[in-house]
């Protein structure tokens, strides 16, 4: 048995059943040798049981309707809606007012125009929706990549190639088709050893059929978009542009060799 003296804290932890088994045995032994302390501790235990017994019926009562959590969540959502509408309306106003100029000035280099801008935006949306998903980020896994390529190529009416980014430390997780305002696009997702994820989105371009590598950013994500021979690409992630740029260059090099 250790020589650590028994403390008041030990006695309370004994009552609350919060001691390690060895220490509990030591307190047991101590109480056996000190009946006056044992009596006091027994009194505490009785208190504890009385309080628990007295209050147990409260926790067993059926919950009143006001404490229905689903309803509380729902009513909060409804209350928030008007505020959201106001924010959206304000944003639309801002975009309407200063839109074209702002987009040119801030979001993209001057050489890029609407086609690539839209693609970059779609890639960012896809990243925001699918990359945080821990359950089903992709519809077809990398193990079935042949099937994924076949499916995407059929739906995009273009041969699609999945860039291999292993040299940059990113493994293919898989992919899915996503809907855009400009038709179907193929999304491929990658992750590295830290679980950081990247998304590559590709679709045929009606405008901007060939465009140089162009940086874009918005919110937490940034990326690069480009277009070659009628196919547009955008690579998006949460890393800094300095890290993403060489990965995007690698993806572009591979996509060109189709």
């Amino acid at each position: 048995m250790s020589q650590r003296p028994i403390t008041e804290d030990d006695l309370h932890a004994y009552v609350d059943d919060a001691l390690e088994p060895e220490r509990q045995a030591e307190v047991d032994a101590y109480l056996e040798a000190h009946p006056d302390v044992a009596k006091r501790v027994a009194g505490f235990s009785v208190q504890r049981e009385l309080l628990r017994g007295a209050l147990a019926p409260i926790a067993e009562e059926p919950l009143p309707p006001a404490l229905n959590l689903s309803r509380i969540i729902e009513s909060r959502r409804q209350r928030r809606l008007p505020a959201w509408r106001a924010i959206v309306a304000m944003l639309l106003l801002c975009i309407g007012g200063a839109g074209g100029w702002l987009l040119r000035a801030e979001m993209l280099a001057p050489s890029a125009s609407a086609g690539l801008v839209a693609l970059a935006q779609e890639a960012a949306y896809s990243y925001n929706v699918y990359a945080p998903d821990r359950v089903r980020p992709v519809e077809i896994r990398a193990s079935d990549s042949a099937q994924l390529v076949q499916w995407a190529s059929n739906r995009l009416h273009q041969p699609v190639k999945v860039p291999d980014l292993t040299t940059a430390g990113y493994r293919l997780m898989g992919g899915r088709l996503v809907a855009t305002a400009h038709g179907a696009a193929a999304m491929f997702m990658y992750d590295d050893d830290h679980g950081d994820r990247l998304v590559v989105l590709t679709r045929p371009m009606a405008t901007d059929q060939s465009q140089p590598m162009t940086p874009h950013s918005g919110g937490d994500v940034s990326g690069f978009a480009w277009a070659d021979d009628g196919m547009g690409y955008s690579l998006v992630g949460q890393s800094s542009p300095d890290i993403l740029r060489p990965i995007a260059n690698e993806a572009r090099k591979q996509a060109r060799t189709i």
Binding site: E8, D9, H12, A13, V15, D16, A18, R40, G43, F44, Q47, R48, L50, L51, R52, G53, A54, L55, A56, P57, I58, A59, E60, E61, L63, P64, A66, L67, L69, S70, I72, I73, R76
Partner: protein, 172 residues
């Protein structure tokens, strides 16, 4: 969130009721607590949401105490209600429970809170310290004082003749 919080609502109600001894007030506090939990869910730290929820509830209850003290409001103190009256054993147990609750309500607020969180709600000493935003050493000293004092109250009545242990109010 629903899955994590919903199972805790009965315990939150019990804690609130034990603090204020009134169903309507307790349920109002818990409802406030849940609304705040929903709107601040993203602010909580990872892990067990229990200490976080109890802390919200506790702070609401403390504010409520302060307000009712300054406004001089007096709410009815409820007795426990066990519907199956009649049997002597039940009757006797009911009296004992009533007694310990009445004595509990004589403790200072801070001692009562610690005792309830630890002995009834089964929070660890560390979690109780988080709820009350005090060092763990303070939790232990308040717990000790709460138990000593409650014990003195209980033993004080033990010398009285059995039968007049609890001055029951004629509620109901």
């Amino acid at each position: 969130m629903l899955l994590l919080v919903e199972p805790l609502i009965p315990a939150l109600r019990r804690y609130a009721w034990a603090l204020v001894r009134n169903h309507a007030t307790a349920d109002d506090l818990v409802q406030d607590c849940l609304e705040r939990a929903v709107s601040r869910w993203h602010q909580r730290r990872e892990g067990d949401p229990r200490p976080w929820l109890f802390a919200i509830l506790h702070n609401l209850a403390i504010n409520q105490f302060r307000q009712s003290k300054t406004r001089g409001k007096h709410k009815t103190i409820e007795e426990i209600d066990e519907s199956d009256f009649g049997e002597d054993a039940v009757q006797e147990r009911k009296l004992m429970y009533q007694d310990v609750l009445n004595k509990l309500s004589k403790l200072p607020d801070d001692q009562r809170a610690v005792l309830l969180l630890v002995a009834v709600e089964d929070l660890s000493y560390a979690d109780a310290a988080k709820v009350l935003d005090i060092p763990i050493g303070t939790v232990m000293s308040r717990l000790s004082r709460a138990r000593e004092r409650l014990q003195r109250e209980i033993e004080g009545t033990a010398y009285e003749a059995p039968g007049n242990v609890v001055p029951l109010r004629g509620v109901k």
